[in-house]
Amino acid sequence: MKTMEVSLWRGRAQGRYQNYEVPLRENQTVLDVVTYVARHLDPTLSYRFSCRVGMCGSCAMTVNGRPRWTCRTHVAKVIRRGRIEIGPLENLPVIKDLATDMQPFFDKWQQAKGAFVPSRTRDDPIEEIAPSGAARMAADAAIECINCGICYAACDTVRWNAGYLGPAALNRAWSLVNDERDAGNPARLAAVAASGGCHACHSHQSCQEHCPLALNPTASIAGLKRRTMQAYLRGELEE
């Protein structure tokens, strides 16, 4: 039976890579490999997954230096000289082994005002929004994000600037800025115009390069730059 060498991060911020020998099968995802280690070789391994079919984003890890959904990454695609190295996502505190603390990621989501603010009540008629409208199309282009954290892990501006809200939070803010039903834009634009907001982005496009859904946070952030600049010049930005 063919085998491969798998190197897994064990520990927290301090730790080391530990090697395991795992059967090499014809059809195998990286998540299959991690699960095999946990079930057959080392039950002390901690990792996170849920749907295992590419819908939830829970299984995101760093595979050979690249953040990926492990359930949707075939071993054949990433194996290098019979080896795979798997670590937790970058730019997030490590709880244990391959599981990171997503709290800072979600905190920044809230800081960017990435939550919908209703403008109507249940007693009002439903607002009709045409899917073909320019604003709706801009929102739809950004809306599929499932908060997997891969863009956040791939972004060096996140790594270098602790206050930077990050591509996912700003991308969500952009989708809401374009949501004609939303009433929260004054506070939202002020939030993304503050220090650590959209203006900190250097347009590396690493987020867009690594997003499994092919979203483009760089484009969303560029849109936020335009909107905040308009508001700033008109004196409409809240302090």
């Binding site: 270098w160 220090s195 203006h199 905040t228 010049l233 930005l237």
Partner: protein, 109 residues
């Protein structure tokens, strides 16, 4: 980086783009003809055009470089944002003073 700093950095960048093109052309002209100091100063001394051109270039670059340096310090050094801002302001003032002095040196009659 916030909207205010971003505005000033991008504005000065846009203003300087054409100035840079002219400056590169000046560099090419001056080096082709192997101009001496006398040749150069003969053209720039007492010239309102050169004084205005390089005076505005200096003002713009002082602002632009200061904000850029601030960003680099915030991201690549352990200095906190407030101190990075102070250092950048001092740097920008130095550029402004030295730059306007240089413009005066070559453009005053």
């Amino acid at each position: 980086m916030n909207v205010r700093l971003y505005f000033w950095q991008r504005l000065t960048a846009a203003l300087m783009a054409p100035l840079v093109l002219v400056h590169v052309a000046v560099i090419f002209y001056a080096t082709r003809n192997g101009m001496s100091a006398a040749d150069i100063l003969g053209r720039t001394r007492g010239s309102v055009v050169w004084a205005s051109f390089y005076g505005s270039f200096v003002a713009a670059v002082a602002i632009h470089a200061a904000i850029g340096v601030r960003n680099v310090l915030v991201e690549w050094s352990p200095i906190n944002e407030r101190h990075a801002g102070i250092f950048a302001t001092v740097f920008g003032c130095c550029l402004l003073v030295l730059g306007l002095r240089a413009v005066a040196a070559v453009a005053l009659p």
